[in-house]
Symmetry: C2
Subunit: 190 residues, 2 copies
């Protein structure tokens, strides 16, 4: 697979196909339309060329935090780990789209749902340092995107329950009532 | 000029060249690198093709509000006007880039600077309904963009002082210390 040089250092591609650093274990359409069935996932900062195997290519941009306060941000930074630790051979790629109603809310209304009532940051903190994470934004890309966010996680197989508990807790929140499409792609590093 | 159909209904193009709905009166490089000198500005939801006259093409996406509260948003919506009113033949296109220091701040720190200490929304309200405005985001585009925001304004020539006062007030704020590039393109509808 030929890779083209990236123009934006904050841009990441998630390419589902028949090659890649990660073997796909399971693709679960949690809400809304599924993704195509593929055997591998390639995570890269270079754009897959058009000869790359069929499946899906999703892309997103790492951006500034939208909700966290200084105290919350400092708390996260002190504990969070980088992706790619040797033991962290388990992973998950979770694209999400929220409803037009979510995006029509004001900043204080979204913050109140996100943290005051759904404890999104607090729940995420409970999974640290076991689970590493990188969030990518798609909503303000030039092309109209099928998802608003792509989140990429890794963890050691022994810590999978911590990750499963995090997903379960988030999906039970008020915030998740605004999620209109979610797919869970479980992978293992090959 | 051939125009290609847009994929994203929130995406707008600002094409500086030798044709367009607006005659360029002046281009002022307020901070940082200037833009090429052009005679006209075309504002469109369709991508200018590669044959379009040289100059600049900047693009941005209309997105959700990042800072305003419900009360502020409702106050703005009640007074603000749509672009393109018959009498509003004066206009301005102002692309802006903020510093890495701005983007490294947490949400509460940016909100405190933006409104609590710089009164951005309050100053903008004072210019309503004379000045109509649309904000476009560029920072999370796929391609690394030369600006973070593009703002497009129109007003009647009789109300130009209201707009000039708004620009002057904003540029004197703490928020504007984080602006590392700003160009002011003044236009008139042809």
């Amino acid at each position: 697979m030929t890779l083209l040089a990236p123009n934006n250092p904050r841009l990441w591609y998630f390419h589902g196909g028949n090659v890649g650093q990660f073997a796909v274990r399971q693709i679960v359409p949690v809400v809304g339309a599924p993704l195509p069935t593929v055997t591998h996932l390639e995570v890269s900062q270079s754009c897959p060329d058009s000869d790359a195997s069929a499946g899906f290519v999703l892309k997103g941009v790492v951006s500034h935090e939208r909700y966290s306060t200084r105290q919350e941000k400092s708390g996260l930074v002190a504990v969070q780990q980088t992706l790619g630790r040797d033991l962290c051979t388990g992973g998950a790629f979770i694209p999400i789209k929220k409803s037009p109603q979510w995006w029509a809310l004001s900043q204080d209304e979204r913050r109140a749902i996100f943290e005051d009532r759904s404890a999104h940051i607090h729940l995420g903190m409970r999974a640290l340092p076991a689970v590493a994470r990188r969030l990518h934004h798609c909503r303000d890309l030039e092309e109209d995107a099928p998802f608003d966010f792509l989140t990429w996680f890794d963890f050691s197989p022994e810590q999978q329950q911590v990750f499963d508990d995090l997903l379960g807790a988030l999906r039970a929140t008020e915030e998740w009532r605004y999620v209109i499409r979610e797919v869970e792609v479980r992978v293992a590093r090959t």
